[in-house]
Symmetry: C2
Subunit: 217 residues, 2 copies
């Protein structure tokens, strides 16, 4: 019984991975359930059994990626919580976050979502709420922790998270979206990370007085 | 001779406006030269005479919009140059900029570009360089003017412009792109503008010492 259920879950995951590749390669309109079955080496009835139709499959692809992004951000936020230096904590966060978001697979999923947002507004809204907004909320919680320890000065942690990510990603993300060029080097992304951390700390970091206080505490 | 040339230029502008509407409504694939001729009340040979093919027409639509955006930003930057208060200057800039960029027509053009970026990378790159990057460069020039008068503290005006726009637009722009909902109210946009100006001035504004210096100068 267990083995069967494991096989079923394996098959479903395999079909979902295959479907992701097919949708990213061909776009929603040109992707077919046949392509997905062929790519995943599963039968077409298996694909239909798990996902019932193409729109549902698209929704599942998006859901799986929102979970993946959230797991990543939670992990990074947890690892930040142990850092005593806000600058090194934010630098780790900025670097991992920009590397994750600028992966070609994530960029192409983003394009797929934007392309189809007017047609499938519920799927786009689910990415916006469960992916985009949830990531900001996780960051905000982590920033609040630093504010509690007086190493960040902020009264609206969600706004601060929004500003941090906006400074980090506005240019590289738009470049990738408009040019279709996903080849940003690690060095380029590092520059965006360093600059965003520096500007964020200038705006939201402790003043020298509050640094003195928190060091003495 | 003059009248003929004026009529020609009118017809071209009319065809371009019609084409923009058709492309935004139907997307690149479904838009046809017939649709453009019908919408613009011009003949199909007229459309071909001015734009030769659909890809060329798409490029012209994008070019016209980049010029429009740049004109707007130049105008705003010029109007800022006369302001003595950096805060009121930036507030005007932020408000006009976010209102302009969040217009449904501009948002839909943005989506059209992102949808077709892998297929027509040259058109996407032209928007990125002549629209997106040029706007940042114009802002940077304006910021440099404030830095020269010591009301902004920055050594990289382009980076500062990137951070300003990123803080201003990251959330509302992504919301519009992912959900297809273009109905942000003036009040919502105003909140983003106020928050971005405040955070920008916290990071890049004058320290109290340099305010004192510039007031005494």
């Amino acid at each position: 019984m267990e083995a069967v259920s494991e096989n079923g879950s394996d098959r479903k995951r395999k079909a979902l991975l295959a479907a992701t590749e097919v949708f990213l390669d061909k776009g929603y309109d040109c992707a077919s359930m046949d392509d997905v079955a062929a790519k995943g080496a599963v039968s077409k009835p298996t694909v239909y059994k798990y996902f019932s139709n193409k729109e549902r499959l698209f929704a599942e692809i998006v859901r799986a990626t929102t979970c993946e992004m959230d797991d990543l951000v939670c992990l990074v936020a947890e690892s930040m919580a142990g850092k005593t230096s806000i600058e090194s904590g934010l630098s780790v966060l900025a670097r991992r976050f920009i590397s994750a978001l600028m992966q070609p697979r994530i960029l192409r999923l983003r394009r797929l979502l934007i392309t189809n947002a007017e047609r499938f507004p519920d799927i786009g809204r689910s990415w916006y709420e469960q992916g985009f907004e949830r990531v900001l909320a996780t960051l905000a919680m982590s920033f609040q922790g630093f504010a509690d320890r007086r190493v960040l000065n902020l009264n609206d942690p969600l706004l601060a998270a929004n500003h941090f990510v906006g400074m980090l990603l506005w240019v590289p993300m738009n470049k990738a979206m408009f040019t279709g060029d996903y080849s940003s080097s690690r060095e380029e992304l590092e520059l965006f990370a360093v600059a965003a951390v520096r500007a964020f700390l200038a705006g939201y970091g402790p003043t020298s007085r509050s640094i003195a206080r928190s060091t003495q505490a």
